[in-house]
Symmetry: C2
Subunit: 336 residues, 2 copies
DNA sequence: ACGTGCTACTAGAACGTACTAGTTGATGAG
DNA sequence: CTCATCAACTAGTACGTTCTAGTAGCACGT
């Protein structure tokens, strides 16, 4: 309690060696005999020595740190960070985390990270404008994860089109031809998915296909479902922009007496934890989280060593759960 | 791209002053004239200078950093971290985040933080044993947030008893007398809540009260609900250990044709995001998140300045939503 | 004896900042 | 005029580590 934490100097003195040798031992690099190594480690352990990361990183030419900006409100980001830890460890890199939240803007989070001198920044689903991304990229290598952008940064993303295609193929295989898409309104990625949906619908000759304005939240899904329910003809399947929106659709349909998947099938996007809830058990398009993470770290490492920015596109896959089933012949007509 | 990031030396040279003065300006402390200050800031901005946090923290006597260990899988931790940022900023403290996840144990996360030389560690709902907490506390001041412990660390927790009492009072006020508690099995806090439930039930003379083994997950709630449904007499209200478990109960009841809150009322605990989902809209006991956060930071700061460990207990409050209502007279008997 | 190569180790200079202990020049009191 | 006071500024060291450039000692071949 009294004295502050021990330093290399304390260990060196106690073990009767130089600080340089302590450094060698602590880093586990060659240059010390086995006996000395053991002795130094024993002393360090006894004194409760922990290397000072700040001094370490300051001295090293490369910081070997990747800054990660993630949203506390996004469960999906949690999954990504988890895998980023794994991917970074594989390359001997450390992660510095900075969270985004209402009240803590992305730029503030990124600025905090810059002070740690990371070799690169990995931004999870950044909402920054291309311009802001470019500004940031002028200061430090930047990787945008799970967000497509025109900015001059590396991007590792899922193939939205492939995801939508998989969903449609699944539904068509079940006999659906009247499929609605509840889009993400102005959310990033919404345009891609909407276009992909329209293209897939055209290709599959889905005469009854249509697109509704949705959004990111459950309420958006509820609103869209109401619109469908109030319309003349209920589709036999709905592909929502994301899981949360899909849940909104799902619950509003059920509340109105429409059976899912009996009358209408529902597909989400993201395979977030909400989709896995036992009572929801949503069929959804899952992004390749480990792939995104390792791709992100790889891209960051590449940028840090001077390579040009790259764009990696990964294939998502469909997770079939219990909200999709064979197309029903009849329409529930006047459901409310 | 070629040259590395600018340092104070570069700014000093460009502005024609000493590095010491640059330091003064960057910290915003008195000791520079307004004109010089403006000039230095202008130069710094132009060169894209960002102070090096590592060097800063290394030099300062106090690091002014709090280490925070949180679980990526726990939405509630996200809420806490969000408020911790606010509380820390109020005191001019920085946060160093280290995440816990399956595959990244709490001790590893804490060890990583230790290398950053934080003034104290704030552990969110730590699952470490009292012994492990004591070990850690021997190296650095430790605050356990939202977890009661016998270890010699500071703790900032919610009054589980008061939370349960509020839930029971609410239900009793609605005319319920046959209330079941689905507990958290071996989860931390489960004992407290179970005991509080039994005490409150006795005090309120709830003859029909009973306790079922539950758990942390939705499946645990589903299992408990099945047990209730298969039993001779359905209670008129259920108080679950947490929100996720409550949702399991809720959905299983509804799936079996039991109306909530028509036939049975359901109360959760935590006010996690799942409780706020539009279609769930769960009545639940909300912890005082901003209070926990500022209490945690205050406790950490106190420990860091040598004060003895403390124990702060905060009152939770009930958030009444739509899963609770007046006790129904009849029993739905053969629901399936 | 001499160099050569190797292992085990060490002295001391960085890294980029904060901070202590000044120095300078202007102002004002006596 | 002298001295104290103050604001504005600077020189130089310290923080705890890594890294460069060594040195000491030993074994070995010639």
């Amino acid at each position: 309690m009294g004295a502050s934490r021990p330093t290399m100097v304390d260990i060196a003195r106690a073990a009767g060696v130089s600080t340089a040798l302590v450094s060698i031992v602590m880093r586990g690099v060659p240059g010390a005999s086995d006996t000395t190594r053991a002795r130094v480690l024993a002393v360090a352990d006894e004194l409760g020595y922990v290397p000072d990361q700040r001094a370490r990183k300051l001295r090293q030419r490369r910081s070997r740190v990747l800054g990660v900006c993630f949203g506390l409100r996004h469960a999906f980001h949690g999954d990504l960070v988890e895998q980023l830890y794994v991917a970074a460890a594989d390359r001997g890199l450390d992660l510095a985390l900075s969270a985004t939240a209402p009240g803590r803007h992305e730029t503030a989070a990124a600025q905090a990270l810059l002070r740690e001198r990371p070799e690169a920044l990995i931004l999870l689903g950044p909402t920054l404008s291309d311009e802001a991304l470019d500004d940031l990229a002028a200061r430090v290598p930047v990787v945008a994860l799970a967000r497509s952008t025109a900015a001059n940064v590396s991007a590792v993303i899922s193939d939205e089109r492939a995801g939508i295609d998989a969903a449609i193929a699944h539904l068509v295989g079940l006999g659906h031809s009247d499929i609605a898409h509840v889009d993400g309104a102005h959310a990033p990625g919404s345009d891609e998915r909407r276009t992909a949906f329209r293209d897939a619908a055209r290709r599959a000759n889905l005469t009854g296909s249509r697109v509704l304005t949705g959004g990111l939240t459950e309420v958006d899904g509820i609103r869209a479902a109401r619109e469908l329910l109030d319309g003349p003809l209920l589709p036999t399947a709905v592909v929502a922009f994301n899981d949360v929106c899909a849940v909104g659709v799902l619950e509003e349909l059920r509340r109105s007496g429409v059976a899912v998947p009996g009358d209408v099938s529902v597909v989400g996007f993201d395979d977030s934890s909400i989709a896995r809830l036992a009572h929801i058990d949503l069929t959804t398009v899952a992004q390749d989280v480990p792939g995104l993470a390792s791709g992100g770290v790889a891209a960051a490492a590449a940028l840090a060593s001077g390579e040009p920015s790259r764009r990696v596109v990964l294939d998502p896959h469909l997770v079939v759960r219990s909200t999709t089933g064979p197309a029903s012949g009849h329409q529930p007509g006047d459901a409310t």
